[in-house]
């Protein structure tokens, strides 16, 4: 994996998938048993963190409780023996960017969560490093604050234009902030791509299921050969013909079971060209105001669809829904690869 200069890359994955470990290895806080890490053209495997020219923002902020905000932000500069005026200029400049100029004399204890987060970012910014590392920086904030800080981080990145590596398990952060997203699972990279690619062209069933909320539906279906070509059969009543462009790829799965993935927003009451029509008996209806989520079952798997708000839709009602076949993903259940 290589990260371009000035790029904003997000590592995302479920807890324990190794994304923080990767970040800590880049920072030099974790030993590397195998493989190599380069920053620019320098191999940094055995270089201590302080000489890697990186700055990191921790999940817990890791502000020094006995120092004021100014001392916290200037600590790295003081250790590096910058001149007093230079330190003052840099800290004030960073404080201005982050809107914390009036907090410089306070101690971390006297700050709110969002302010602490800004100070932690400020501590990273003043050093003007080659790489910013963020380790789940927003997970200790409440939802509203998280939204604000997300915008703040984006703004700061646009302002400073520094290469940034950001770890999160929150896919909204991944989708909104990143130039490129790296989806990880069990210590391995599942897919690297732009947020758009990750969302619309997932490489594996895991990525497809992990990104998107509510997550993608998976229905098992059988591929059968018929006189017109290949058919994907979900039940005896629900089946559709596989398009020419895909039939060649799917031909070797004839008489085998695949998983059909489809996102909730591609199941709606609007009829589209080439959509698969089904009758669904609703188990649960969730009106969210802007839209209504409906849950029903096919083949014993629970399926979620997104329909326009409609007061007449109630639990137990049978409605007609259309599955947008342009957005079907076929997944090989053995290899988890999206075909």
């Amino acid at each position: 994996m290589s990260i371009k200069d000035k790029e904003f890359v997000i590592l995302v994955g479920p807890s324990g998938c190794g994304k923080s470990t990767v970040l800590r290895m880049i920072a030099g806080l974790e030993d590397i048993t195998k493989g190599e890490i380069f920053i620019e053209d320098n191999k940094v495997n055995d270089i201590p963190p302080k000489d890697r020219d990186i700055a990191m923002v921790f999940q817990s902020y890791a502000l020094y409780p006995h120092m004021t905000v100014f001392e916290n932000m200037s600590f790295g500069l003081r250790l590096r023996k910058f001149s007093k005026e230079n330190i003052k200029d840099r800290v004030q400049e960073a404080a201005k960017v982050l809107g914390i100029s009036e907090l410089l004399d306070r101690r971390p204890k006297q700050l709110s969560g969002g302010q602490r987060q800004r100070v932690a970012m400020g501590r990273a910014i003043v050093r003007n490093p080659k790489v910013f590392l963020f380790d789940e920086p927003l997970s200790n904030l409440d939802a509203k604050m998280r939204g604000q800080m997300r915008i703040e981080i984006k703004r700061v990145h646009q302002h400073l234009n520094t290469t940034t590596i950001y770890v999160t398990h929150d896919q909204v952060e991944a989708m909104t902030l990143a130039d490129r997203v790296v989806v990880m699972k069990n210590g391995k990279i599942e897919q690297i791509g732009s947020p758009d690619e990750i969302y619309n062209k997932p490489a594996t069933g895991f990525v497809a299921g992990f990104i998107g909320s509510p997550s993608m539906n998976f229905i098992s279906c059988k591929i059968e050969k018929s006189s017109q070509g290949f058919l994907a059969k979900i039940t005896d009543d629900i089946f559709f013909a596989i398009k020419q462009d895909k039939s060649k790829m799917l031909s070797k799965y004839a008489n085998k079971t695949l998983l059909l993935g489809i996102r909730p927003e591609h199941i709606s009451e609007n009829k589209q060209n080439g959509a698969l029509k089904i009758e669904a008996k609703l188990d649960i209806v969730e009106p969210l105001g802007m839209e209504t989520m409906v849950y029903f079952s096919i083949n014993n798997s629970q399926i979620c669809g997104k329909v326009s708000p409609d007061n007449t839709i109630k639990n137990g009602k049978v409605i007609t829904l259309y599955l947008d076949s342009l957005n079907f993903h076929f997944i090989d259940p053995k290899t988890d690869i999206v075909l």
């Binding site: 920072a27 030099g28 806080l29 201590p48 963190p49 302080k50 990186i54 700055a55 990191m56 921790f58 817990s60 890791a62 502000l63 020094y64 409780p65 006995h66 600590f75 790295g76 250790l79 590096r80 101690r107 204890k109 501590r123 050093r127």
Partner: protein, 295 residues
């Protein structure tokens, strides 16, 4: 019963709290406040306890050279012993903290032993070791061709010995307090400092010490009080000798009050510790409170 006025009176929260604390309050009254006031009263009597002499006993003490020697010795003993206890405890705590947690338990257990054994008993063991002719220390010195040391019979070495034993007994207390304090410092502060460019020494100076300031102040205060009032080590090793050059306040008070039978004078000696320790406690606790508000 429920409408009983006494019951209602008793049910009120501050009263319940008071009655629950009563056993402790009584104990403090009987065992601390009463003896303290009584000893102030005693210190103002003559030797036969028949006549009130006011501050006569104190004025008498001020004129005695031995008393000033005891003052000097107590201060010297407490400061030197506490300094080394704190230093050794700090270093040992760091060393243990650096051991992977699996092996830590046995080291912690072993290093705590000197603190757990009753000091009078372990001091007796030291007394044996210090024995000039037949014991291990001088034997060892002889083996490496060094002259034998009169551990307890020469002023310098006698002072050295009681300080050594006091350090040996007291350092584990510092060790365990500092270890707990070290473990409570979040690891990510050190990681942040590494990234900020701090080396080991700078992390110690900028992170560990400030984060441990309070616990260091409190343990040192506590230890100075206990060390200052030490009795058993001196009593077992030197009994204040040679020629009163290792007496501390407590042993000197015992010598004057019990052994020489002048209880009022003994009480005056022991009361001398009080203002010194009270001022010390006040200063350190004030700075701790100030820092607790800051951080």
């Amino acid at each position: 019963m429920k409408n009983n006025a006494l019951y209602i009176w008793l049910r009120q929260k501050p009263r319940i709290a008071f009655f629950m604390c009563l056993p402790l309050i009584l104990m403090v009254l009987c065992l601390i406040i009463y003896p303290f006031i009584y000893s102030i009263f005693l210190s103002m009597l003559n030797k036969a306890e028949t006549k009130f002499v006011g501050i006569g006993n104190y004025l008498f003490l001020f004129k005695r050279e031995t008393f000033w020697l005891v003052v000097q010795q107590s201060i010297f003993f407490a400061l030197v012993a506490v300094f080394f206890k704190a230093l050794i405890g700090f270093i040992a705590a760091h060393s243990i903290n650096a051991i992977p947690s699996k092996g830590q338990r046995k080291w912690r257990g072993m290093l705590l032993i000197p603190w757990v054994i009753p000091p009078a008993l372990s001091t007796l063991g030291w007394w044996w070791l210090f024995e000039p002719t037949y014991s291990a220390l001088n034997w060892f010195l002889k083996e490496i061709s060094l002259p034998a040391i009169p551990w307890l019979s020469e002023t310098f070495w006698a002072r050295f010995s009681i300080i050594l034993v006091n350090i040996w007994v007291g350092a584990p207390f510092f060790l365990i307090m500092y270890l707990a304090a070290l473990k409570s410092i979040p690891e990510d502060l050190y990681e942040a400092a590494s990234i900020d460019g701090a080396n080991y020494r700078q992390k110690l100076y900028y992170i560990t010490l400030p984060m441990m300031k309070n616990i260091i102040s409190i343990t040192i205060l506590f230890s100075i009080i206990v060390t200052f009032a030490n009795f058993d080590i001196v009593r077992v090793l030197t009994r204040g000798g040679p020629i009163d050059t290792t007496h501390l306040f407590a042993t000197y008070a015992f010598r004057v009050g019990i052994e020489s039978g002048d209880i009022p004078l003994g009480a005056s000696v022991s009361l001398f510790m009080f203002p010194i320790l009270a001022i010390l406690a006040f200063i350190i606790l004030r700075s701790v409170r100030k820092r607790a508000l800051e951080v």
